[in-house]
Amino acid sequence: MNTEPFNDRNVNELSAYYYVDIENYPVTAWDKFKQVVKRSLKGELFVGLWVVLREMIKFDIHTVQYPKEKLPIGPRYRAVHKLLRLWESGFERCIGCGLCEKICISDCIRMDTRIDENSRKEVTEYSINLGRCIFCGYCAEVCPELAIVHGGRYENASEQRAHFVIKDDMLTPLDFLTAGQQEEYPGFGAITPHEDERVTKTPLAY
């Protein structure tokens, strides 16, 4: 639906808003009587009856039978986090920089890193306490590698909170990646389309 007309809150002939036509209250007894007659004979009750009956006959049902059907959610929806992998190598994208841990305003990200045998920083532990997370999206936005992102999994009822938040749960499984099923995240903190064209060189001299 085009919401443009509704953004203009000023009532004018172009906007979708208009003043409701409210008549003045009747003063004289005759005016009052006329109003009563008008309202009684207009049959507004029957208009109401007709409207609901029409909807029943049209049978234009809008129910979404939730567990069976689901409405699509927007790409920017911020649900349970995911840790992504690099497409080519399958390595974890996370470089262990710790920015997400630092920025998290609920202080609910906890990670542990070590230097592995290739002198590469490896993330050994990564967990998000979803009981505290407010799904603000700062972690996804601050992550330089698009490693921690928000997924679309909003059904987070479980026996234990921990079921969502251990690194193994969040990380894309390798077979998933090789099957090409890791979805790039278009939402919060992701690179906007045509980003390359918008990049301008920083001038060397001011």
């Binding site: 609901v52 909807e55 049902i61």
Partner: protein
């Protein structure tokens, strides 16, 4: 009074009790579906095909739920109140002919428990006694909402008894009998003989009052959810609440039967077509109860009272007077 008569009566009572308990359960299903369709929803869908077994699920829930009796209630009255509602609703059914008499296996069945000669009076009286359910239940509940609801139910029911009585008076003057079977037979000659045709004002008045008597939506003040929670039912749980519920829905069915028989010709000449016609009329009235619930807002209690005493009652009285004058003029001294 022979044995066969007693057995027959008991069988009839049991059948009516079972059929209408089941029907009021089914009525809730129909109500949910109709309201849902009118609001572009699907209604219950998960229990059984198209949610048909929802009624059974509700029944199990009501029966197995803990029966809570709060601390400060007046216990005996609190316990008996739902029974009054359900019992009076079903007692009213005793004088209603649900089907023309028919012969099965060489045995003539009168599908009416008792054709008493004051049938309609008895039905209205029983429905009036039904007032004690909400009234006592609400007053015994030690709950402000319930108390408000009890006060409202007393005011509304007693006021609208006046309307139903006066509205019925005019047709009864024409028929000259209080038996529902006589009233039905009076209208045998087809649509032009229906009392709704000769007494449209009485019909509309009775119809309006029926909404108040059953506490349905335009006059749903007795248990108006957004003002007084569930009114007299607030403190009830489990099957005690269920009895209120059954009573309400049984009442809707019975008053639909009364309207169909008194004003719309009932089952007519007693053929199968006439009997099916009666069921159709009853279904329409029942549907209309649901229909208005989807379409119309509730009125305020003061508006309801004003409507009763300042608008409907004068109209009803004038209607009775006019009927009397016309009868006097047309029939001479008859």
């Amino acid at each position: 009074m022979d044995g066969a008569f007693i057995i027959e009566t008991i069988v009839k009572i049991v059948v009516i009790l079972l059929v209408f308990s089941a029907l009021s359960g089914f009525g809730t299903y129909v109500e949910r579906k109709v309201l849902a369709f009118m609001q572009r929803r699907l209604g219950p869908m998960h229990v059984g095909p198209y949610g048909l077994l929802q009624v059974a699920a509700d029944g199990i829930k009501l029966f197995t739920k803990e029966d809570i009796i709060p601390q400060n209630v007046v216990k005996p009255i609190f316990k008996i109140a739902p029974v009054i509602t359900a019992a009076t609703a079903f007692m009213a059914a005793a004088a209603i002919p649900f089907w023309p008499q028919f012969t099965a296996f060489g045995y003539t069945v009168h599908p009416i428990v008792s054709d008493i000669n004051v049938g309609i009076l008895y039905v209205m009286a029983m429905m009036a006694i039904g007032l004690y359910g909400p009234l006592l239940g609400g007053m015994a509940s030690a709950n402000k909402w319930s108390l408000l609801s009890a006060a409202r139910s007393a005011a509304v029911f007693i006021s609208y008894e006046v309307i139903t009585g006066l509205a019925l008076l005019a047709p009864l003057m024409m028929v000259g009998s209080l038996s529902l079977i006589d009233i039905n037979n009076y209208q045998i000659g087809g649509i032009s003989h229906w009392i709704a045709v000769s007494q449209p004002v009485a019909f509309i008045l009775f119809w309006i009052a029926a909404f108040a008597e059953t506490g349905r939506t335009p006059f749903h003040l007795v248990a108006n959810d957004h003002e007084i929670i569930d009114g007299f039912g607030t403190e009830y749980s489990g099957m005690r609440w269920g009895l209120f519920f059954i009573g309400e829905y049984a009442n809707m069915f019975f008053i639909s039967f009364v309207m169909a028989i008194v004003f719309l010709g009932g089952y007519g000449d007693g053929t199968i077509a006439g009997a099916l016609g009666l069921l159709l009329k009853v279904s329409f009235f029942f549907f209309f109860f649901l229909w208005t619930r989807a379409a119309w807002p509730d009125v305020r209690p003061d508006q309801l009272m004003r409507l009763c005493w300042k608008v409907l009652m004068p109209i009803a009285v004038v209607n009775v007077v006019i009927t009397g004058v016309v009868m006097m003029l047309t029939r001479g001294n008859g």
